[in-house]
Chain length 558, copies 2
Amino acid sequence: MPTTIHTPRALEKGTLRVVPVGGLGEIGRNMTVYEIDGKLLIVDCGVLFPEEHQPGVDLILPDFSPIRDRLDDILAVVLTHGHEDHIGAVPYLLRLRKDIPLIGSQLTLALIEAKLKEHRISPYTLAVKEGGRESLGPFDLEFIAVNHSIPDALAVAIRTSAGTVLHTGDFKMDQLPLDDRITDLRAFARLGEEGVDLFLPDSTNADVPGFTAPERDIGPVLDDVIRRAPRRVVVASFSSHVHRVQQVLDAAHANGRRVAFMGRSMVRNMGIAADLGYLKVPQGVLIDAKKAKDLPDDRIVYMSTGSQGEPMAVLARMANLEHQIEIGADDTIILASSLIPGNENAVYRVIDGLTKLGAKVVHKGNAKVHVSGHASAGELLYCYNILRPKNVMPVHGEHRHLYANAALAVRTGVPEQNTILGEDGVVVDLRDGVATVVGQLDLGYVYVDGSTVGEITDADLKDRRILSEEGFISVFIAMDASTGRVVVGPEIQSRGFAEDERVFDDVKPKIIAALTEAAENGTRDTHAFSQVVRRTVGRWVNTQHRRRPMIVPVVISA
Amino acid sequence: MPTTIHTPRALEKGTLRVVPVGGLGEIGRNMTVYEIDGKLLIVDCGVLFPEEHQPGVDLILPDFSPIRDRLDDILAVVLTHGHEDHIGAVPYLLRLRKDIPLIGSQLTLALIEAKLKEHRISPYTLAVKEGGRESLGPFDLEFIAVNHSIPDALAVAIRTSAGTVLHTGDFKMDQLPLDDRITDLRAFARLGEEGVDLFLPDSTNADVPGFTAPERDIGPVLDDVIRRAPRRVVVASFSSHVHRVQQVLDAAHANGRRVAFMGRSMVRNMGIAADLGYLKVPQGVLIDAKKAKDLPDDRIVYMSTGSQGEPMAVLARMANLEHQIEIGADDTIILASSLIPGNENAVYRVIDGLTKLGAKVVHKGNAKVHVSGHASAGELLYCYNILRPKNVMPVHGEHRHLYANAALAVRTGVPEQNTILGEDGVVVDLRDGVATVVGQLDLGYVYVDGSTVGEITDADLKDRRILSEEGFISVFIAMDASTGRVVVGPEIQSRGFAEDERVFDDVKPKIIAALTEAAENGTRDTHAFSQVVRRTVGRWVNTQHRRRPMIVPVVISA
């Protein structure tokens, strides 16, 4: 795996260059740039959600630096499906150039258009379907149906003079999906016969043995739980999981209950899905959340967001009794969702809160109310065997997922030297059926915080981590730098350090003494004096309190 | 469940009062206070480890306020076993009164003595064994063997004139444990015949259906992985899990490998366990970590700490190549441990780092290398049926665990009104076979940070959370309060907010203008001026950046 940064050689005509800008070593901010003969094609442009070591960050974008000076050469962005980790960074890309065409399926485009509307951008779009082909300069695109946890997902085969690439996007191979739209293995077979030079498969579940269970398995469980529920039912899931919501609608309908959508994204996305026919709403089943309160408790199902314990979402507010729907004894809550690593504490806090209110909480830990949207190892083996790709670069996963996926490729006969384990920014050139790592770009994380993009740096996040662990002590002093005499201060402020400010009475004389001594030894410069303050306070706080708060000395000359 | 605080009535002679000070609604800081006829007995005194919303906190202690004025009435602290969440707060309790006797099994006392030595305390101890009885004033104690993920764990039956209580501590019912020391169901049966008035059972796994698998199941898996390992093997687990380490020693020995202990607590605890005969070290298997490097790679197993992804522990340092043992291709790492909720991101970061270095990582997600130390629902049902307790108060669990445990009690015939679902500080009186909730104390979290205990408050933690999400902006101004003229400043500092301090050029004139205006309107007081600064900067940062950093204005009169 390349770890040192090296600039790739200039790209020759007739060679295809592939640069995954995001999604390698992380689940999120998926984005891959393809280039041949001076033209660029981008597949996906998503966001990554921050972890706890990136506090206060709203979103993380792919680093656009490899394309920033090439904006006019971009022919299009292909969006494989409508999840945030594949479309969420599009508004930020279009801020750089508004008229980059977006290519995707009907539902995918509808979801990105709704999102862009909030950013007041109306994009150029080209709707495509499975089986369709589009020629864009040197790229010949073929779209292939794949099955995922959102409808209308597409893989894309990219034919160029340098060879053929198959980029799956996220997928699984549910053989009995709700909408009967299976991952098109016939198309994979045909491509395999024709020859796939480079295969970029989804790695999320590559380390999960066996096969992902069918979405259909969940329906009977939901039906059973809803049928037995004595009072209200609240189901929480992802706001884009149309088929999961479909099963909730069907189960509610079968049990004589009506359904109210709760949460802004749930209402918006299900409106889009129903309008376009992806969600089939049984006659008369939907009811406005406000009117739902007038129904008897055993006639209603609330379909809400917040399955990951997000503090501001409907479910967490219910658990804290901060929501107009007051959860109580005999209510039933179903978390029909995965538990994304890192969210455990938040989710268990919500489950605990609901349990304390007397509700029965059904979740994947105690009932089969969730299946994954990604292909497990068994399914990936089918893909490798039917495609027989010449080269493989696993994408969409943390390193352990990429490694597990590469190992599957090798077990089906892909030579080990033809599997590429890359990091974001790896530069792979394809020519004559040979894929070679030719460089490694130095790409960073781009943080969105409030309305700022890229203004917060890793240094700021390091400061935030120190502040969160230890708080800070700021010391203000105005002094006569020529004599070392303190004119104003030391004025000490602290936050997150100790409740009682009198603790500092102890250190103030020490600061003055240290400054006087420094002046006597010839110090004249305010920066040097501020270092004296930092050392004095740092030593005091370490010996007296065994703590290491951030120390912010401000010494000015007065 | 009691949520309002109410002071309990005075305790009458002949009534037993039970106050769980910690461990209800949380997994950790277990501590229960028993009182009768003016005398107190404490069972366990553990710590809780902080979650991500308690940044920078080292440990959380039980709130000692109910016993702070009663120290001389405490007859003893019974320690059920040697885990941190049961013994970790003892040093802080003994700081209040050094000569409180500690009662526990041989291994438990050895572990707490080692810990107290670091705090320079040598305690009064009384070693007890299963089957033993001790009379302490109004309390008659009987100790009963229970099986857990540390050897030598004990339950305690407390007989008083008000009735008999059975307090299990942590336990499970492995029927084929490595040391053949099973949970003594015969004693439970005998107590049941005699009559148990109040039962306080471990709730950790009450919501897990079925039975916890035997520890013995892990041995063959370890043996298999170690046998196949081409190079070095590193096993990470809990440093008190003597039986897990025993199985590693045995598997290493069987495969001609030697074992080096890594990590301070692993070395210390296994030394104690071996000295006392709980760990049976095969002749010649141990080797000093420093000498282990001279062995061929396929002759060594490192037994280390760090299975929860702790950043300073051996395993995380190996994953970051910050350890003298440089992990590389074909090394095998086994995480023979649970994944404690909240640690997922840290653990997966370690797994990912090791994978990137080329190591094979075996963990409970892909092999049977861990079983829990707590009884699952099936085992708890056995206990209820053999004990037939009159009253039940589930302990040691978050609310969902306590509820699940109470539900098991009810299913075996304990009347629902006789199951007590309490929170920390609930006051339960037992008399004539009737247990009644008579009060609820207002107990808080006591945070240890560095050398300070209880100095950090929830307000400080709230400040730390704001600082970690948003950083801070401090504004220093010295002014002539009588005229509103700024003499020094505004001197603006920020951390965690933005890299480039020039962003503040914009707001400085706004601050001066706002202060001048306030002075013209009659403001004279520095506190009022500092509110003006806060509002001005707050409004600016919200409109310009859509952010909400902490704003720390310091206005002094010069």
